[in-house]
Symmetry: C2
Subunit: 600 residues, 2 copies
């Protein structure tokens, strides 16, 4: 129960709701004659009216007695109505849109609420940045429910971020309106090892009687998983095998089955449901990361729902997994997750249970989207200057910045280096070894081996630190790319075939406040400006989707044929994933968590 996400807390409207239910007072809205998807009993009820007052459901049945002269009556004959969808784990920043535009993009797809871990902006701008995003989100009808980022930085000691979160910050944030739990505890090694940092964060969350959300990404279902769940982690969205999801549910953890833009785990995970005759109350359906093109082309949770049904999950169970099961996971089922008396009138109208298209969306009793379009709009959020000017690189970047010095004594010839071998469409990398040419004491990249110079410049506190490496596998023949979307520290990442283009790419982003850029032959070919923390822009989903598509075409121009190469590139610094990664502090062996030399 959290009044922050309701039009009014229930205790202020029990009298009114009771009066409306009995016909002593008129409802604000009456929905007439719908098929009700009852997520409590898992039934479809026919010809149901819903009377609404104060933004909440007052009555379900035959509601003519609730209709007064000022009551808005919505004819829902032929429609199915379901509780507003709740996304149990999501990062708004992945959409590259601010929370306001994100809300406009997802609400027409049936999303009433999101449990949001804003760890991207937190890495850049700290909890103050999170608060700004919460302000933006609060202007919208979307219930943007926050879990405080737990792992900032993601891998302490191996990278420099804009901020730091520890048990004290967690304790403070647990007092904020709108925070209901701890964001994904990626530091499961810390949980298993019993570190003060990890268990301190867990403890502060539990003391506040809030929910710990998880991230147990390894295919292990025995001692480690038990230890992790015993530490109080209530849900986890990182299963990739059906047996992992099943084990989590059996151990009383909510298994959040993911179908995001990039991570299509659901078809595999659905087998946990379809191959076993189990109670599915511990299953959620979630999106995690949704990119703008997915929102525009496929939708949001409505799309996940359709995929779930295609995978064989019965439709009512699938709807439970994005409504009541999610609300129960977060102990918020008193307000959210079902169309029952007293609950927020968050209602999805669907054209049918086969097609599952959202025709209308109501939140807190107000119709906020129809025919796929949001019915609300507002001025762009006035982001403060420190949010839109987050590029603080400690040194001027010139072509000379990209010189890679060979080991002492090697002036000309070759040298053996470690390379980050990317794997298209996967989050992991391999560590490779390659022989590169040395000229005048400088190690060169080698496009003939598809090996590119790669730099990560700290960009938050002008420390001047940077890491140097080589990446193999993008297929780039000329030019360079840069991005400030570079997980999780979101430093300035530059990859390229020549030092001049790399400098241009870096400086282009420094000037525009961050984003993603492709340059070649001294020219900017494509640029997505992301001035909000270097991660987002305040554009609508369609415009953002078009800009990203345009940028992707310029990648192809310089020789890369991978789908969404920027996403793969953005993971080069993510030191919590195997095997070899590059942060602003250097090359990290992410299987042993040790810095390693560039040279073999």
């Amino acid at each position: 129960m959290l009044d922050h996400f309701c039009k009014k807390p229930l205790w202020e409207c029990t009298r009114t709701l009771a009066a409306v239910a009995q016909g002593h007072q008129s409802a604000d809205v009456v929905i007439k004659g719908a098929h009700l998807v009852n997520v409590c009993t898992a039934e479809i009820q026919e010809d149901v009216d819903v009377a609404i007052s104060e933004g909440r459901v007052a009555y379900i049945g035959q509601a003519d007695h609730c209709v007064g002269p000022d009551t808005e009556v919505i004819d829902a004959a032929g429609s199915y109505i379901a509780p507003g969808f709740l996304d149990g784990h999501i990062h708004v920043e992945s959409s590259m849109m601010g929370a306001g535009e994100y809300a406009r993009a997802v609400i027409p797809h049936g999303t009433a609420g999101i449990y949001w871990d804003p760890h991207e902006i937190c890495n850049v701008l700290g909890l103050e940045g999170v608060q700004v995003m919460m302000e933006d989100a609060a202007r919208t009808p979307l219930k943007a429910i926050v879990t405080t980022p737990s792992c900032v930085p993601a891998v302490p000691g191996f990278e420099d971020t804009g901020s730091f979160v520890g048990p004290e910050e967690i304790a403070e944030s647990m007092t904020w309106d709108g925070v209901v739990g701890l964001g994904e505890m990626m530091n499961f090694p810390g949980v298993l090892a019993g570190t003060d940092h990890a268990h301190g964060e867990l403890a502060e969350t539990l003391k506040a009687n809030k929910v710990i959300t998880g991230h147990y990404s390894i295919p292990e279902t025995d001692r480690g998983l038990n230890a992790y769940i015993a530490s109080g982690v209530r849900c986890c969205h990182e299963s990739t095998r059906a047996e992992d999801a099943l084990a989590k549910m059996r151990l009383g953890q909510y298994a959040q089955l993911r179908y995001g833009s990039a991570w299509h785990d659901l078809p595999e995970l659905a087998h946990a449901i379809t191959d076993h005759d189990i109670d599915t109350r511990f299953a959620n359906l979630i999106s995690d990361d949704t990119h703008p093109h997915t929102l525009v082309e496929d939708g949001h949770l409505d799309h996940v729902l359709r995929v779930a049904v295609q995978c064989g999950i019965p439709v009512i169970q699938a709807i439970q997994m994005m409504t009541i099961n999610v609300a129960t996971c977060f102990h918020m089922d008193d307000d959210l997750g079902s169309i029952t008396p007293g609950k927020c009138a968050d209602i999805v109208f669907l054209d049918g249970l086969d097609t599952l298209n959202v025709t209308r969306m109501m939140i807190d009793g107000t119709v906020v989207a129809e025919g796929g379009k949001p019915l609300f709009d507002y001025e762009c959020f006035a982001f403060p200057d420190w949010v839109t000017h987050s590029m603080h690189v400690g040194q001027p970047i010139t072509p000379a910045s990209f010189v890679v010095k060979a080991p002492e004594g090697t002036t000309d010839g070759t040298v053996d280096v470690r390379t980050i071998q990317i794997i298209p469409g996967k989050v992991g990398t391999f560590e490779g070894h390659a022989t590169l040419p040395v000229r005048n004491g400088e190690v060169l990249g080698d496009p003939s081996q598809d090996i590119l110079k790669t730099f990560v410049f700290e960009r938050h506190h002008e420390t001047g630190t940077f890491g140097v490496g080589f990446t193999q596998g993008f297929g780039i023949k000329r030019g360079a790319m840069a991005s400030t979307v570079a997980h999780d520290a979101h430093n300035l990442l530059v990859v390229g075939t020549n030092d001049e283009d790399m400098a241009l790419a870096a400086n282009t982003l420094i000037e525009c406040g961050g984003g993603m850029v492709v340059v070649a032959d001294g020219k900017v070919l494509g640029l997505v400006e992301l001035p909000i923390a270097g991660l987002m822009d305040d554009l609508g989903a369609e415009e953002m989707s078009e800009k990203v598509h345009a940028l992707e075409r310029t990648w192809a121009d310089i020789g890369c044929t991978m789908p969404s190469p920027f996403m793969t590139m953005a993971l080069i610094p993510l030191a919590c994933l195997p095997e070899l990664r590059l942060t602003n502090r250097g090359l990290v062996d992410c299987t042993t968590f040790e810095f390693v030399s560039l040279f073999v």
Copy 2:
């Protein structure tokens, strides 16, 4: 999450649990080779070990790695283990035992926790009395979880109780450790009418983010029920028809299916489950009132479970209804209701899923009962004097106290009076009319018509008030009965054939601090002393059961052949039930809620 009912709050033991799960530290206890009733997925898992530390589950799987030299290993081969049973609605006082002895009686039957509405003692001794009972209960392993009585008095303005509870008292009690919600909101007419008292209490509970428990006892599933649920009432144990229970579940209210000593609703209510293909997560199984003879002869929730299965409810679902569904109803599923990592190690050992006999009971990792016997004991609780001396009648009681004056002008002859017609085995009464003899200006009872004088004396604050009526239907030929168990005000109720025996009965109870008594011909035939608030004694269940049986035999001696006549008698003053009732203020028509004259 409420640390009060765990050995340690989870945040103090996450490190230890994680270490034990991984075998880095030894478990306190390991249960080996059980069949696990998994209430999360509704499956039976075979050959499961459970490792326990700090009173909580650390690991589930094959737990040899958790066994150290000091680990207690319990061989559970052949046993089924299920989560400790939770009774979602119960009044300890109905057992006539203090909370300590109650715990000793129910724990061997698999009960780990009760959601307890102590409204009997609260009517007598107020919230201070509740606190004393909580202290007694806290000495036991039983998780005696309190919902604060909401309706004290039950029907304001029609009776005098020892205490008063309103919104302010509710707000205060919500800050107490051990209080998780509001006790059964019997005043559903007040909820429907929108009274300040009722909605004030609801509001204070909701503001504290606690659970409102319900009592919607009329067979109505439309406007009134919707209004009641919309007011935030999360569960209700008062359904008597399957369609009522089904309607409640469909409207998102937990339907608590009752099978108590006196109220055998479950066989009817089970049809809500067995006749419909529904998700049963909103069903609970509860006992409400359990008398000592039931505890001794049949058991507690284990008995309810066996009845549920006999009624056709699948056994795993039935177990869910007294474990995870209850914990979820009260938002306590982080700590209770399942055998999963991190949860309290409250574990029932069953000999089989057909027999469902409890062979061993563990609470917080300690075996607390075996073979039907509790393994814990302690000194009698030192109840303070004001608890054990609660008889405060305002006048000396003599035979003259029982004179019923005829209407002015009627010295001899007859007069027409209203009678309370009891209905054996039902909670209701009828209003009857009868013609009674008048002698010397006094109206006499008439055993030939089975009509007895009935008096209710206020006994809490020496107000000297009393109500006078006539009761029909007990079959008594001689003597008198008295009781201080007289719902819900628990004033001194006296019913009899002659004034001398009535005075003796009343004075016997005044002298012993309350209880139940049968007298005839100037002699006490049977007496159950209940010195704790006039409601309970600190005896074990077997002894109490024997005393009550002995008393019942004396009822038969004076002519009454009803089963458990004291229970029926105790409802004579209960002014929230139809039709005619007698309180210390007079006769009440409980269909119109008006005082009525004794004389027609």
